[in-house]
């Protein structure tokens, strides 16, 4: 598979698509070699990288920036890039078309060295390389079209690029378009036979959404904004509507607050509509279900977690958040409020009181710290072992004769012989 860029060294969607696609292929059992034009410090567990210019030292970050930004620009013969004489080999220096050609020159050697059964090339930048590889190995060539020159430049296209694309489509055994719309373009603007052009829609990588989400949180925090967290199912029972009403009140006093909603449920649409009606959509971030590291991060980074449950038999989430050093505001209608005291409590319907308490935590660092530190200490003492011990002593207290029958030796071994039945 020939690519041009790969995350995190990417300038746009092409790299992201290559990553998602390669990973998904590998996990379906495809043995994949990913070829890149320049040596970059990258490795992923699912495929092997080959760099067309292996002899070149790793190139620096800003050189890389220039290389990849060339991909997005179509002023490929601009004076500035011509006059740059940075002493790099031609795959790295030189204008974009020259770099594309240099990549192709090395593709034959790569194809000879690496065993493969199919060649897959992404966008015009790699088509010449794919064609060269096919010449050497005779394996079928698939060219993938993520964006045509018409998408990038409208009707004012660069003829040279158009020709490279056209040659790629013609020499390929199969053209893969990312959408029906793109397929139509390939057929009409390039005159490619319809039966040769197939559509494969892009996917979304769930694991990969980690980074954008975390980056978003970091940006929010860096801008001096506060984060109020809602987590869990968005259902009537959890009181999402009270959360929104509270948020609106908080924003009147602390406009630099973001409300992050992690989770989903049958009231999600209603919640989004409510937020939009109040005109505070720009302060809400609906992230769907956050998991793993993402969830741990938002637990840690939130300034406060609010659980406005209308009814909650217990509610483990506040405890998980407290363990992450984050203060919590829970409804008095939740079972968990019976066991914790280093928390703030409100009635779920009292959105004034909730807003007041959240504002206090956002404004007073001392209060926030006190709740984080003491809350964590408190939660440490609420463990399952304790619950088990309570249960065991409860079993034993049920009925003397009964427990004597069940645990005849309970007097000697202090009631630890409880088993599930």
């Amino acid at each position: 598979m020939f690519g041009w860029e790969f995350p995190p060294f990417n300038s746009g969607g092409l790299g992201v698509a290559c990553e998602g696609l390669s990973k998904a292929l590998a996990s379906s059992g495809v043995d994949l070699t990913f070829v890149l034009p320049f040596k970059i410090p990258i490795s992923v567990p699912w495929c092997r990288f080959v760099f067309s210019n292996e002899s070149t030292d790793l190139i620096s970050e800003n050189q890389m920036q220039r290389l990849f930004s060339g991909y997005q620009s179509h002023s490929i013969h601009s004076k500035s890039s011509k006059t740059q004489d940075n002493g790099l080999p031609d795959a790295v220096s030189g204008d974009l078309i020259e770099r594309v050609r240099a990549y192709a020159l090395r593709a034959g050697a790569i194809a000879k060295k690496n065993k493969h059964s199919v060649i897959h090339a992404h966008d015009w930048l790699t088509y010449p390389a794919g064609i060269e590889a096919k010449k050497v190995s005779g394996r079928p060539l698939v060219v993938h079209i993520h964006a045509t020159e018409f998408d990038r430049s409208g009707d004012n296209i660069n003829k040279e690029i158009y020709n490279i694309e056209l040659e790629g489509f013609r020499k390929a055994d199969m053209v893969v378009a990312v959408s029906g719309r793109t397929r139509e373009k390939v057929i009409q603007k390039y005159g490619i036979s319809p039966h040769k052009v197939k559509v494969v829609h892009n996917g979304v990588e769930f694991q990969k959404s980690v980074n954008p989400v975390l980056e978003t949180f970091n940006r929010i925090k860096a801008g001096g904004n506060k984060i109020v967290l809602y987590a869990g199912r968005i259902t009537l029972q959890k009181g999402p509507d009270y959360f929104v009403a509270m948020a609106e009140k908080i924003l009147r006093y602390e406009p630099k607050t973001f409300f992050v909603v992690s989770g989903s449920g049958d009231m999600e649409e209603l919640m989004i509509r409510q937020v939009a009606n109040l005109g505070i959509s720009d302060r809400f971030i609906f992230c769907g279900w956050l998991r793993g590291e993402e969830l741990a991060t938002i637990y840690r980074d939130a300034d406060i977690y609010v659980m406005p449950s209308v009814s909650e038999p217990f509610g483990l989430l506040p405890l998980e958040v407290m363990i992450s050093d984050t203060p919590v505001l829970i409804s008095k209608e939740s079972g968990v409020s019976e066991v914790v005291s280093c928390v703030l409590k409100s009635h779920f319907w009292d959105t004034d009181d909730m807003a007041d308490k959240v504002l206090s935590v956002l404004r007073h660092k001392k209060l926030k710290n006190h709740l984080s530190v003491n809350g964590k200490e408190e939660v440490k003492a609420i463990h399952w072992k304790k619950a088990a011990e309570s249960l065991i002593s409860l079993y034993n207290s049920l009925d003397n004769a009964f427990s004597m029958f069940l645990f005849p030796s309970s007097s000697t071994s202090a009631g630890t012989q409880v088993s599930h039945f």
Binding site: L344, L367, H370
Partner: protein
């Protein structure tokens, strides 16, 4: 509260004085308490007046607002003591000569400030860690002073009444007047004065009427006076009668609160510190603004109870702080207080703007001790 505690307790004391002209007692009543009596139960003021008029009751000096100003601002502390003296003079026509600080908070430095204000005596907790081997039953001289004497609370005997009176698990229960009089008399020969200091709400509130606390109070003078070696004196009489046995060095604050007998009931967690720092920082500007209502509100917010409610020392176990607090948790107390602080700051900014528009900036006339 007036009907449950102050009125019946005052009635018992008045009767005691009528029955025993030698029975004496003294009161330390904050300005804010007096204000509340005037506003909600003026008959309580009348009953105190009747007691003071017998001549057997001494009134003590303290800060008007039951504040912690002695720790945070000497200037404010002195001002509040002056305000309280004025209040006592206006209401009862008396001028106190003995000082009792908020919650019995005491240190060498506080004694020195009281001495500078002209007091001849000051009260403190007779805490073990302060006394060591010494007894609270003598008069002492605070380190670093010349003209002021120190009276120490006999905390065992005081707490027998205040805390343990109705505690059935206590070996002394049931506590009767003769039994208590015996314990007092057992000090004879090795004591000049036994100072029983307690919260007045012991009578009827902390110990309810059905515990027999009023009967106990009713019979105590008679029982104590049965022993001819015993008599009742007021704090100023004790200071006049007895020389200081020795010097007592108390560099760190002591108080009568909680088991620690230190400042931790009001100043131990970050919330309390933040609240206190905020109120006293506000004061630096408020005292220069000509806005008497703002100034008065600022002073009311210094009352130590506000910070007591924010105490988290024993919060997890639920305890005496919880019993006295109107808030559901220390955090609610803090949040409410800081919201009020926010409001105070807005009012201060308003007042400053108004003052700038005024013709000239004239400062609040300073209170002078000599004029009181």
């Amino acid at each position: 509260m007036a009907r449950k505690c102050y009125l019946p307790a005052n009635a018992v004391l008045l009767q005691n004085i009528k029955d025993n002209p030698d029975f004496k007692a003294s009161f330390s009543i904050s300005g804010v308490a007096l204000e509340q009596f005037e506003k909600f139960a003026p008959e309580v003021i009348d009953s105190f007046k009747a007691l003071v008029d017998t001549g057997n009751i001494e009134l003590l000096s303290e800060t008007y607002y039951h504040s912690l100003a002695s720790i945070y601002s000497e200037e404010e502390f002195v001002n509040q003591v002056i305000l309280h003296r004025k209040k006592l003079r206006d209401l009862f026509g008396v001028t106190p000569s003995i000082f009792r600080n908020t919650e019995l908070i005491y240190s060498n430095n506080i004694a020195k400030m009281a001495e500078q204000m002209g007091y001849k005596g000051i009260l403190a907790e007779g805490a073990d860690h302060v006394l060591g081997w010494r007894s609270p039953t003598f008069v002492y001289k605070p380190t670093g002073t010349e003209n002021i004497k120190l009276l120490l609370k006999h905390y065992r005997l005081s707490d027998d009444v205040a805390f343990r009176f109705s505690q059935k698990s206590w070996e002394g229960w049931p506590l009767t007047a003769p039994k208590f009089a015996d314990w007092v008399s057992s000090h004879n020969g090795n004591a000049d004065t036994i100072n029983l200091f307690m919260d007045y709400e012991t009578f009827g509130e902390h110990q309810w009427e059905d515990t027999g606390i009023f009967e106990f109070l009713r019979h105590l003078p008679n029982e104590i006076l049965k022993n001819p070696d015993n008599n009742f004196i007021t704090p100023s009489e004790a200071v006049d009668l007895y020389d200081a046995k020795s010097e007592l060095d108390v560099p760190d604050y002591v108080s009568w609160a909680d088991t620690e007998r230190d400042l931790s009931a009001w100043i131990s967690n970050d919330l309390q510190k933040e609240a206190l720092e905020t109120i006293y920082a506000l004061g630096q500007e408020i005292v220069h603004i000509d806005d008497p209502i703002l100034l008065e509100d600022w002073r009311k917010l210094q009352t130590s109870d506000h910070f007591y409610y924010m105490c988290t020392k024993w919060w997890n176990d639920g305890d005496v702080h919880k019993y006295f607090s109107p808030y559901e948790s220390p955090y609610e107390a803090f949040i409410a207080y800081m919201n009020v602080m926010h409001d105070m700051r807005l009012r201060l900014e308003e007042a400053k703007k108004k003052q700038e528009h005024g013709v000239s900036l004239h400062r609040v006339k300073p209170l002078r001790f000599s004029e009181v």
